[in-house]
Structures are given as C-alpha cells and as structure tokens.
C-alpha cells in the first residue's frame, strides 16, 4: 500500500507544486508560504497547547458528573469560533451590497454557543442526579 500511495500521490503533489509556483510567482509565493506555515504554527504552538491547558483545568475544577458535557461544549465552542471567525471578523461586508453577509454573525455565534452550553448544562445536571441516586445493593 505504501508504494501505491507514493505512486498515486507523488504525481499529484508534483503537479500541485508546479501549479502553485505558476499561480503565485514571487512575491505572492511568500504569502502562500506564510499561510501554509502559519496554519501549522498556529495549531501546534497555540491551539493545541491551549486545548491541553483548558483540558487540564477541566480535570482539576469540574466535578466528575459535569466533566464530559463541559469538555464537549468546550470543543464545540472552539471549533465553531475558529470556523466562523472570517464571518464574525466581518471584513467582507460591502455597503454597496447589503445582501452579502447580511447577518450579525458575532451575535449568532453567541446564540448558538449559548444553546450548546444549555444542552451541556442539562446533561451535566442529569448525570449528577443519576450519580446521587442511592445504589440499591442486593440484600440490603
């Protein structure tokens, strides 16, 4: 499979690299390199360590029953915030085209996240109740 992967993949990579060089002659290539490396750098040095840090905090301060719902809500919060950032940033709004980007995306993101956290909260409460219920042991 390895050989097949290289046999199929290398021509694609080579063609793609050739096309990139053609599509972005210097100095545009510098910008391509910046965004190519930037994605790796921002993830490996910022997003992932931050996620680990927050995860460690959850283990320390969130009670057991609420742990999974809080982790789930945090993951969804991070993913949605990253994916909708260009909309929330709002640089594409053009006063001459009001039908383009017509929604208040920052507010909308907050509403969606509020709903996500509400659902997570409901799960946490339900799990806490289940844990608190006395366990009936046979013979007692």
């Amino acid at each position: 499979m390895r050989r097949l992967g290289y046999a199929l993949g290398l021509p694609f990579v080579a063609l793609g690299a050739y096309l990139v060089l053609n599509a972005a002659p210097w100095p545009a290539l510098r910008s391509v390199a910046f965004w190519f490396g930037g994605g790796i750098a921002v993830h490996d040095a910022l997003i992932a360590p931050l996620a680990i840090l927050v995860g460690a905090l959850v283990l320390r301060i969130v009670p057991t029953a609420a742990r999974a719902p809080v982790q789930a809500a945090l993951i969804i919060t991070g993913c949605l915030a990253i994916a909708t950032f260009p909309l929330v940033w709002g640089q594409g709004v053009d006063p001459s085209v009001p039908s383009q980007l017509p929604l208040p995306y920052g507010r909308n993101l907050l509403i969606v996240l509020a709903l996500v956290w509400l659902v997570a909260g409901a799960f946490a409460v339900a799990r806490a109740r289940r844990l608190r219920r006395p366990v009936l042991v046979e013979g007692s």
Partner: protein, 390 residues
C-alpha cells in the same frame, strides 16, 4: 553556554509522547477521524475540479445545460464539506498531537519522508480550509490570487493525502477491528463521545450554513441559518447579489437611454436593440437559480428573450456559440462564453425582468444572461454585446 547546548536543553524540556495522558490521543480515534476526513476531502476535491472546469472549460469539454441544478448541488457540497472538515481536522490533529514530539525526528529515511509528507498534508489542508472559509466570507487578507492558488494547493493536499493513506491503510484496518470501549467512571469524554462531539460540531456548522443554498421561507431561513453568507430570499427583488453596479462601475452606462444591445459576428443581420426593442420581442419566463461559486444559491423567476430566439432573429446558424460582453469595463467576469448546449437550451435567456419587475440594476439592468446549470460568475450582467461565432 554554546548555542547547540541551549537548543539541546530546550529540546530536552519538550514533552514526549508518553507525557500526553488523555485517552483521546488514540489510534482508534485517529483512524475513524481519518476516514471521515478522507471522505470530506474527496468530496471537496471532486466538486472543486468540477467547479473549476465549469468556470474555465478546456476546449474539448462541453458542459451540458441540464440538469438545471447540477452546478448548484456541486457548489453546495463543495462549501459544506469543506466547512464540515474544519472540526474533523482539528479533532484529528488533537488526537495525533503527541506524535509531534516523537524523537529522534529522523529515525530513518522512510520515516523522515513519511513525516515530511504529513507536514505537507497538514499545512496544505489547513491552507485550503482557512483560505476557503475566508473566501466565502469575501475576505482576502493575503497577497496571492485565491482562485488559482486554492486550485493548485488542492493537488498538493490530495497527493499528500494519498501518500498518507498508503502509509496508514494497514494500521487503520487493524484499528477498526478494535471496538472503542471506555471506562465511564472518570466522568471525562469517552473516545466514542469525542468522535460524536467532533461530528456534532461539523453538523452544527453544516446545518447553520445550509440555508444559504436550501431555500427556506423568511424569517425561518434567518433563524435556522446563523452562518449563511447570503439568504436565498434576501436581496433586491428577493435575490441576493455578489457584485453591485457601483463596484462594477456601470451605473451611468446601464441607465443611459442610448443603451443598445448589439448582436454581431456570424449573423445574417447585425442587430442593434434598444430596451424597448428587446421588450417587443417574444418573451419567455423561466425559474432558474443563481449559483455563486461561494456556495449560496437562490432561485428567481426570470423573463426575457430566449437566446436561441434572438439568434434566429439575427439569422445565425443553428450550431452557433456565443460570447456575451458586459458594460463592465474590466475584470475576468466582464465577458463569458456560452457554448452550444446552453445556446440551444430553451431556458437560456437574456433576462429583462426578475420576479415580475424590470431587473434591479445590481441584478444586471437592462439585460443579463441567465442559463441553467452554470456558475453565477458566468451569468454575465449588464450585457452590451452578443458576439456570435459559427
């Protein structure tokens, strides 16, 4: 201290893979997320290729004009599968993050090559998802041309993906045989729970955006599509706009009473038609979508002169193809080619009206092209010339 000693000291302080204790850093999770990403990236690649060759068809390729909604479906899938990939990729990278700290970095040539292509895959995948999501938000904070670079990088990413699949294929098959069963007493997410959350984040993004291409009535669309870049019913005459008459610089020429549409080239008789002349020709009404390459679409009811009727009136041959030219002076999309399948389709119009009113100037007043199964950027607005070739 010597610089090399400083570097070595720093490297020694970095964590090692075994320092990452979470059970979510797991090959079974990585395998399943990898399969999901393989599917979504393949959808992106295929629909991206289709879209690219729709916009810039090679000479040997004639796209059919039917089904009417083929391009619309293609673009909807392209943008939504790209969006869905963002949480999947983040989850995947989190899962395999400890591998970043494997040492030595270059255990062997084969291992080094594998890692080099993973670097290409991660950088390229992030590049495609980031540039794509900025593009649909009409934001271009970089110094390159989006369209050709996004197209080119897709080949780099897909090639690196094929190489990665070649490396991981056996491991993934092995992992899929092991069920994901976790102890729930710790209270933290199980591996299955983590997969469900990643899928849920993707699903929320897709659902929250799909309303830009799935027609819902207002205000339902507004509330069910918090992340839609356009709403299918919001805009002049109930249809969204991507480029305004102001930004195209055609406000003066479009409303000039001296406006004429010229039909020339391989014709029996050159026609110079005023707006009243166009209105006096037999009119056709069709329901057709405007489909933006950026993934949104909106169906309108268009009325105008069928292109093939106009060509008959000008005495053009039955196998003619056409180039339409806009009043817009510059820009790649100020002109577009209409090939035979679209010329001959009865639904291809030089539209004068949208939803029962004369075209709004931002929809291309006095006259625009509207044809089935065609990217929005090629539905040329503010037409001034129809050039016929035999």
């Amino acid at each position: 201290m010597e610089p090399s000693a400083v570097v070595r000291g720093l490297v020694d302080r970095l964590p090692e893979p075994r320092d990452f204790k979470s059970r979510l850093h797991d090959p079974g999770v990585a395998a399943r997320l990898g399969i999901a990403l393989g599917v979504s990236f393949t959808l992106c690649m295929l629909t991206g290729l289709v879209s690219h060759y729709f916009q810039q068809p090679p000479t040997w390729l004639l796209w059919p004009s039917r089904p009417v909604n083929l391009y619309r479906l293609n673009q909807g899938v392209h943008v939504l599968s790209g969006l869905a990939s963002i949480p999947l990729l983040l989850a995947k990278l989190w899962t395999v993050y400890p591998k970043l700290f494997e040492r030595p970095l270059l255990a062997s040539v084969g291992k080094g090559l594998e890692k080099a292509f993973i670097l290409v895959l991660v950088g390229g995948a992030a590049f495609q998802l980031v540039s794509g999501s900025f593009n649909v938000a009409v934001t271009f904070p970089w110094g390159f041309s989006f369209l050709p670079v996004h197209f080119a990088m897709a080949f780099v990413v897909y090639g690196a993906l094929l190489i990665h699949v070649g490396h991981e294929y056996a491991k993934v098959r092995q992992q899929l045989k092991i069920p994901l069963v976790d102890d729930v007493r710790t209270g933290g997410l199980t591996r299955r729970g983590f997969l469900g959350v990643a899928a849920g984040a993707s699903g929320l993004l897709v659902l929250g955006t799909a309303g830009q291409t799935v027609p819902l009535p207002e205000p339902l669309a507004r509330w069910l599509s918090p992340f839609a870049t356009h709403l299918p019913r919001v805009g002049p005459q109930g249809v969204p706009v991507r480029k305004s008459a102001i930004s195209a610089g055609v406000v003066g020429t479009a409303i000039d009473p001296a406006y004429r549409l010229t039909v020339s080239g391989a014709v029996g008789e050159v026609l110079e038609l005023s707006l009243d002349d166009l209105r006096a020709l037999p009119q056709t009404t069709v329901d057709l979508p405007i489909t933006c390459v950026e993934g949104w679409s909106s169906t309108g009811t268009w009325t105008g002169v069928a292109l093939r009727d106009l060509l008959v009136a000008a005495g053009a041959g039955p196998d003619s193809s056409v180039r339409v030219v806009s009043l817009q002076q510059s820009g790649v999309y100020s002109t577009s080619a209409v090939d035979r399948p679209h010329v001959q389709d009865a639904k291809t119009l030089l539209a004068l009206e949208l939803n029962g009113e004369p075209l709004h100037i931002d929809h291309g007043f006095p006259c625009r092209l509207i044809a089935p199964n065609r990217p929005g950027v090629l539905q040329t607005k503010w037409l001034t010339r129809v050039e016929v070739s035999a």
